[in-house]
Structures are given as C-alpha cells and as structure tokens.
Symmetry: C2
Subunit: 96 residues, 2 copies
DNA sequence: TTCATAACTTTCCGTTATGGAAAGTTAAAT
DNA sequence: ATTTAACTTTCCATAACGGAAAGTTATGAA
C-alpha cells in the first residue's frame, strides 16, 4: 500500500490550509486563522512549515503598520496537494 | 471550517487500516502489517487504538498455536470512516 | 507435563509533533 | 521616538510515533 500521502500536507491543520488555499487563490493571515480556529502562533508555525517545503507563495502588500501578507499555494504546492488528493482517493477508494 | 475530521482515523496508519478493512470485510494481522509495511508493535498499537475507540470487531479463530484474529470495522467504525471520508470530500472539495 | 511455536502485546526509550501563552520583531504612520 | 498591526519565536508541557526487545498466551508435540 502507501499511495504516497504527503507528510507535509497530511496533518490536519496543514491539510485544511492547503484545501482553503487551493480553493481560494489567495488568503490573508487573519482569515486563515479564523477558518482554522487556531491561535496566531499555531498558524504561523504551520505556514512556515509549508513555506519551508516550498509549497507557498507569499505576497506582501503595504498597509497600515507592517505590510500584510497574502498566502497562496506555489506551483509545487498545488502539485503536491493534487498528488495528495490522488493518494487519498486511491487509499480511500473515493470516486473522482 | 473543520468538517469533522476524525482524529482517531486521520493519522496515516490508522487511515490505511480503516481503508483496507472498509474494502475487505476481514483481514488478518500479518496481511495488514505487510500492507502497511510496519512492525508488529506498531500495527498492534494502532489496532488497539482503533479497538479502544470501538471501531473494530475482532473474530478469534482457533488455529495452530494461539488463535488467529481477523479484524474488521465495527458498525461504529464503518460509520466513523464514512463520516471521515465525507469530511475529506468537503475539505478537499473532492467530487463524490 | 514440560517444551516449542505462532501470534500478538507491552515496555523501554528516544525523536518529533502540537499547542497555547507570552515575549519579540518589524514597518509605517504619528 | 512611539504606537500599532501583523506576524514570529521562544518557552514549556503534553501527546504522538517508531522500532527493538521482552513478555503473553494457547495449542500441539515430545
């Protein structure tokens, strides 16, 4: 078995982040945090984890105070997420 | 968000066990272990975890030496697995 | 009735993951 | 210089996770 589930993506919060980003193109920190229902620190760590894996593109937009960041999946991230979904489909015998 | 991913089922090995059992009715220890590619101890622990959650039915069949166990998903296990798949479909926007 | 064996289970022990709170950073506006 | 908004990191504690090895247990054989 083992249809290549991606350990970077599989843990719940990162899976949720990827799913949100895959369906939304771009999202900002506060919205992601609220959708996941986690603290700033937790979201920040998981975003860093995804970013370190090269799965994110971060666009900084000037705003009041520090620039705001908009997060999206990089090409690699999109690809990895699709592969992960494929693996889930295989493992779970989900219809496409 | 949070479409009710079941933390009992979500971790990779338990997801694989549930998926195998959902598609096979009944399986024995050695085959599960080989399909997952893990050690006896790891499989035993994950099976115990699922069993403690009430997700398994274990049928003991007399054989040479200690009786052999056949594992399957209990009603609760089947139900929980289906809900988990539903949650995955929602989160990942998978088509059914 | 004491092995030997098959089929698991538990314990031991070390590594990694998680999580929140709180403290720290940073860039721009005042 | 300060303040504020938007993150980041550190601190600290708990909970996985994994394999190796030791421990159980139920026969059947010697």
């Amino acid at each position: 078995m083992s249809a290549e589930l991606d350990p970077v993506i599989h843990p719940v919060h990162r899976l949720q982040i990827c799913a949100l980003l895959a369906n939304a193109d771009e999202m900002e920190f506060a919205l992601l945090r609220d959708e996941l229902g986690v603290s700033d620190s937790v979201l920040s760590k998981q975003l860093k984890y995804l970013d370190d894996a090269g799965y994110l593109t971060i666009r900084k937009v000037p705003s009041t105070g520090r620039p705001r960041s908009w997060y999206s999946l990089s090409k690699d991230g999109q690809c990895a997420f699709q592969k992960h979904l494929d693996a889930l489909r295989i493992i779970a015998a989900l219809a496409t």
